[in-house]
Symmetry: C2
Subunit: 344 residues, 2 copies
DNA sequence: ATCGTTGTCTACAACGTTGTAAAGGCGTAC
DNA sequence: GTACGCCTTTACAACGTTGTAGACAACGAT
């Protein structure tokens, strides 16, 4: 049985509360007492029982981070950064995987199973705006990725439309004219995919290029296999594209694989660009041009927002002010071999 | 403020304990009472406060999973599986990243920061056997990956030596004779790397091939960049290898990249094999031959062992029986293009 | 009618912590 | 010498839950 305040108090010959005061850095304690207590703490190996502390304080010290799945390197990397950022603020992260299921996303915002948490950071995939209304208003919610979801949730995202436009402008700049896009998700409107496709469209329009619906490829998921399959369809067209913008890096990796399999040269015959800047793209053959969202900034902002919302006053748990915040994280275009850039 | 047992009790006109009994499925309750309580629960939206429950029960319901870092897809995938397995047993996983630092690994086994947890699953990298002695004996510990670490910890791993031998035998079977290995970690003896290198040696010996120390390449870490650098050194040798076994897939990806950069054909000039079966290797160019550990089995076994060790009797937290267990998970060789296998 | 027995429910204490309020010690000013 | 104030420490209650032990009714058996 681990030592408690009581054990330490006994050993130091003081009251429980005094030990508590020492532990919590209360100001008015004589050096002599403090020293005695600290020695007793060291001797017993005491460490506070966070469960009890949080019960008393009405906070749990946990935030939940819900991502579609850790298999996706983008989310894996992001999760790592969120954990690190949360640690700096003395928070512990519970990682949930929603598998992109609307049901599981809902479970997260309607108070996370039976678990009590102080805040939730959710990267929604399937969620519809209406789901948000059912969210537990007492638990601050931070949504990752833009969606036109009104309501009491904060948002952190890069400007997806602008970022997508930037990549496609780059493809145009290197002389491509038939620029396809992989990653449409019919049925899911307002999602990240839709924004990136809008960016593609904007760039084409700005350059006066025609907009060909057969160049907009829908996919079931954003996995390598989906990209590979979509690319196959593109290459089977009578007039295949000379560039492909994939809505994420995994799709691009799959697309590149299909091209390579068919002996199509990248970027010679077709240039390919992705989105997310996962580490994999820095070592693929060819290396992958991509949009690099500032993941660190995203993680930091998400945790920061959650932090700000958690009201430290007992009983007043909940969103601090009604105004919800939108944070725009920066992004950068990384030109690599797949669009004619330098090696590594 | 969320509703508590008290609120429900008041509404249902029964005692707090009766509500508790209903919630916990206590047997002797009249249908009428049960129905009344259940309605009150539904009306108030009551959900148990796990913090309080666990305080009372002396268990937290948390297990910590400590991996070097989530950037590494192997650990990301494994983490996902552990989370899923833990969920099935009503456990919540706290994910920690040790960054391969001995200090942080120690922090995990000596009771996880200030956090109380019921068990720990650790994937050690830097840890030395002596560190284990300082582990909190009350917290069951499951180590992932074999190391000759005696003591009260359970182990889950595949047979690394046999697996490595299997890959290298495969390289020999396709006619290679100068088979290098990337992934030695001088200084870290007993680690996973050492075992895989031993497997390499065994295969060479069994085939009567000479053992050339210049063909055993040390690396700082197991990242893509390390593999790339090591491969460069190999290709600079007067007599470069005709095959390279990399101790993990990331190293192999890096190695392949270097070879491709130099116009060396894979597997024509040099065959390359990895270890871990990360998804990336199924889409790289060429696709990567690798050892596929049964990650699901590993995750399941790890959670299962932790589960078994947690003594449900209050105050008796701790390892249930002194005998520590060793679980061997299965593995399989996946032959792909990088050693002359079929495409995908 | 009385006595157990069985089934159903409840009062109380405890888990380890912290907020509140107040008690005690000591020095200073009158 | 008394009153006051300050600094330091403490007792107590409370957070929401469950284990223990016992209360209370209803019932059948004696």
């Amino acid at each position: 049985m681990p030592p408690t305040l009581k054990d330490v108090a006994q050993r130091a010959g003081v009251s429980i509360k005094t030990v508590s005061n020492v532990v919590n850095g209360y100001a008015f304690i004589t050096p002599a007492t403090r020293e005695r207590v600290e020695r007793a703490i060291a001797e017993t190996g005491y460490r506070p029982n966070l469960g009890a502390r949080n019960l008393r304080k009405g906070r749990t010290g946990f935030i939940v981070l819900a991502v579609p799945e850790l298999d996706n390197p983008y989310f894996a990397e992001l999760t790592g950064l969120v954990i690190t950022a949360a640690h700096r603020r003395q928070w512990t992260v519970l990682v949930e995987q929603t598998q992109g299921s609307r049901e599981r996303e809902q479970a997260v915002i309607t108070s996370m199973g039976p678990q009590r948490i102080d805040a939730a950071i959710l990267s929604p995939l399937a969620m519809e705006p209406s789901d948000l209304e059912r969210a537990d208003p007492a638990t601050p919610l931070v949504l990752l990725g833009e969606r036109d979801i009104p309501g009491p949730a904060d948002h952190v995202a890069i400007d997806n439309v602008a970022a997508a436009r930037t990549v496609v402008e780059h493809l145009i700049a290197i002389g491509r004219r038939r620029i396809a896009v992989i990653g449409d998700q019919p049925g899911k409107n307002g999602g990240t995919g839709a924004l990136r496709i809008a960016g593609h469209r904007q760039a084409l329009d700005a350059a006066g290029l025609p907009h060909d619906p057969t160049m907009v490829l829908p996919v079931e998921n954003y996995q390598r296999a989906d990209g590979a399959a979509a690319m196959a369809r593109l290459l089977d067209l009578p007039e295949p594209p000379d560039a492909v913008f994939c809505c994420n890096d995994l799709l691009a990796i799959g697309a590149m694989r299909t091209a390579t399999d068919r002996g199509i040269s990248i970027p010679g015959n077709v240039a390919i660009a992705g989105f997310d800047d996962i580490a994999e793209g820095g070592y693929s053959s060819p290396t992958l041009t991509t949009i690099a969202p500032d993941k660190e900034a995203i993680a930091e902002a998400a945790v920061n927002l959650a932090d700000k919302r958690v009201d430290p006053i007992r009983g007043g748990r909940g969103t601090k002010n009604v105004e919800s915040e939108d944070v725009r994280a920066p992004f950068a275009l990384k030109v690599r071999e797949s669009t004619g850039g330098a090696g590594r």
